[in-house]
Subunit: 205 residues, 4 copies
Amino acid sequence: MEKSERRQKLLIHARDVFAKRGYHAAKVEDIVTAAGVARGTFYLYFADKRAIFEEIVDRFIAKLAMNIVRVDPYDQARSVADQVSENIRRIVSILLEDRATTKILLADALGVDPAFDRRLHSFYDEVGKLLEQSLRDGQELGIVEIGDAAMYAIMTLGVVKELLYQVILRGWDHPEETIVEEIFTFLRRGYLRVEPSKSRAQKRR
Amino acid sequence: MEKSERRQKLLIHARDVFAKRGYHAAKVEDIVTAAGVARGTFYLYFADKRAIFEEIVDRFIAKLAMNIVRVDPYDQARSVADQVSENIRRIVSILLEDRATTKILLADALGVDPAFDRRLHSFYDEVGKLLEQSLRDGQELGIVEIGDAAMYAIMTLGVVKELLYQVILRGWDHPEETIVEEIFTFLRRGYLRVEPSKSRAQKRR
Amino acid sequence: MEKSERRQKLLIHARDVFAKRGYHAAKVEDIVTAAGVARGTFYLYFADKRAIFEEIVDRFIAKLAMNIVRVDPYDQARSVADQVSENIRRIVSILLEDRATTKILLADALGVDPAFDRRLHSFYDEVGKLLEQSLRDGQELGIVEIGDAAMYAIMTLGVVKELLYQVILRGWDHPEETIVEEIFTFLRRGYLRVEPSKSRAQKRR
Amino acid sequence: MEKSERRQKLLIHARDVFAKRGYHAAKVEDIVTAAGVARGTFYLYFADKRAIFEEIVDRFIAKLAMNIVRVDPYDQARSVADQVSENIRRIVSILLEDRATTKILLADALGVDPAFDRRLHSFYDEVGKLLEQSLRDGQELGIVEIGDAAMYAIMTLGVVKELLYQVILRGWDHPEETIVEEIFTFLRRGYLRVEPSKSRAQKRR
DNA sequence: CATGAATGAGAATTCATTCAT
DNA sequence: CATGAATGAATTCTCATTCAT
């Protein structure tokens, strides 16, 4: 077996163990047993348990980051709607393709340690900023509602995260395409068909 | 000091320690030091570390659950919009009132152990079901868009969670009322002002 | 058993284990077994294995340092010879009184780790400086041979260390008083009764 | 590269690594890296880490032992003084020539393991015995002070060891010739110019 | 012979929980 | 009841040595 092959094997099994048990309950013992290597072998490839976890998450967020493409409203070939839904589709597709890592990202990555939390936050910040900027562009073109773009970005993130969380952690089975469509539709028109309440307006200070 | 007083003190300090460090990094030592009691005393009031964590989270989700009120479309006194936004307001208010526990709920509660995860999931299920039923009612009355009510419920949950997450964990400061309004507005009309793409339409089954 | 009593117990047994096995071969396990306490108890009293070793050595060198008294040539009550031999006697006495720790000091303390080596060196420096200064004083008074006082100091140290090393590590049994007398005599008149060789003088550059 | 050349290279680099880090902190990894051979190669030439250390020390003490020459009082060509100082000179010269190994011998060789300690002790015994016999011869000829020859031998050893220790481990720089002269002078006449104290004399048995 | 990846025994340390006072 | 010292199971990581290529 080649060196990088064994490394890869460890990464895959570590991912599965982390996904199954969570970071803290996952023991190095479990990983090496799953990978069928000796305990010491693990440390030939990774400095420690945190390092392999970090690599799993980092690779994944790098892949995600690469697949969020800025929307170009002047693109002749593809409409804005197409580009937006393509973005959603790509992200959802990556997340569903590697469910174990998505589970790790959504459920375990937070709280591993403060330094790692910062890294995670900076990823979400990055995603947020990218989304926010796209939304501002969209506002100028009149295709995004006037309003707090940062807020929209966060809410979009929340929608995607929660949906994937339900699908992957709770086994809520839906075809990928349906998920993409539902997100798109939700962003496009919300769901409430009521006017803002007057009493609320009155309570404002 | 009275018995229940001492217990309460432990709960409060445990909450703060858990919020600051996360479940695993929070040591029983930290909790008893903060509460100013002896280590052994802790075990007079709580079976183990998990038990106190559980109680903190359970109390909080019970409080939250109590404050999600079924929308009554026939209520003469309050419009549906009012009732919906009241629900959002109450929940956001509870979450912001006890930021430490909200932080625990959003960032630390998941992954403590499988049994606890199930409990958490069942809480979110409950919330989801309640929301879903309300949305179905709304659909019959034409005040909620036709579509997958469970999906709407999940997305709503995602929006609320992510927003609170940003406000509490990332220090994204916004007045409570603004948060409530933004959520309401988002649910009401989304933000995208584009038509669904044709290519997507073609793929529909 | 009192807190400080247990600490003391650990120190004594650790000393014996270190003396018997040396720093590296001494396992924390051995120490706690000897002391009859649980493994974790060890860490209640000492941060780690190095800390207890450090304390053993530090206490001992502090005791030694305290017992090297500057020779006062104007002392009416005690002659210089008395004072010198008293110094030797005190040091030898302390070293022979606690043979285990002397063994540790002479055979194991060096090479534990670089930081610890520095500490040891600084102790020997201190002793050397004290001795050197006394010797310089003695030179002014004509009771110490003219020559490199630092060199004399080092040689004195060497004589004491090697003699004790033989007595303690090699079981070379001699009464304390004999040891003291022999050292004194050696310092006083050496043992060679030959003239420096001429050839040596010629080789000088 | 030839077989014996590779072996030699390992010995030299091992010596340097042991001198720099001490036996326990020196890793086989460090040695093979320094020697530029593969890890497995090390074990083709040496049974284990201890074996190479042993060989380094053994070779060195063999060389030292060879260079301690019995003093011949009837030698017509060289005076006793010459022969004694030649002995000192040869030993000091060997020790200073290979400072790395001297450092190992003085600071690291002790405490590696009990069997090795015994070997070291037997070397010092041998040296001691040789010295002692020479001193006894000297006593018969009236060129060595009456007294415990074994004691004189040990003290001589101590003087040489401590002086070299200071020069090599503490960087106390002195020309070789000065060192030899100082040792010789010290052995010849000590440095104290006081009479033995009376109180001490009274205690004598 | 040389290589260097793999091995696994072994040690230190942590910390939730217990229990004698 | 309260205390806090004692416990020891559990886990991580290191590194000398082996062995297949």
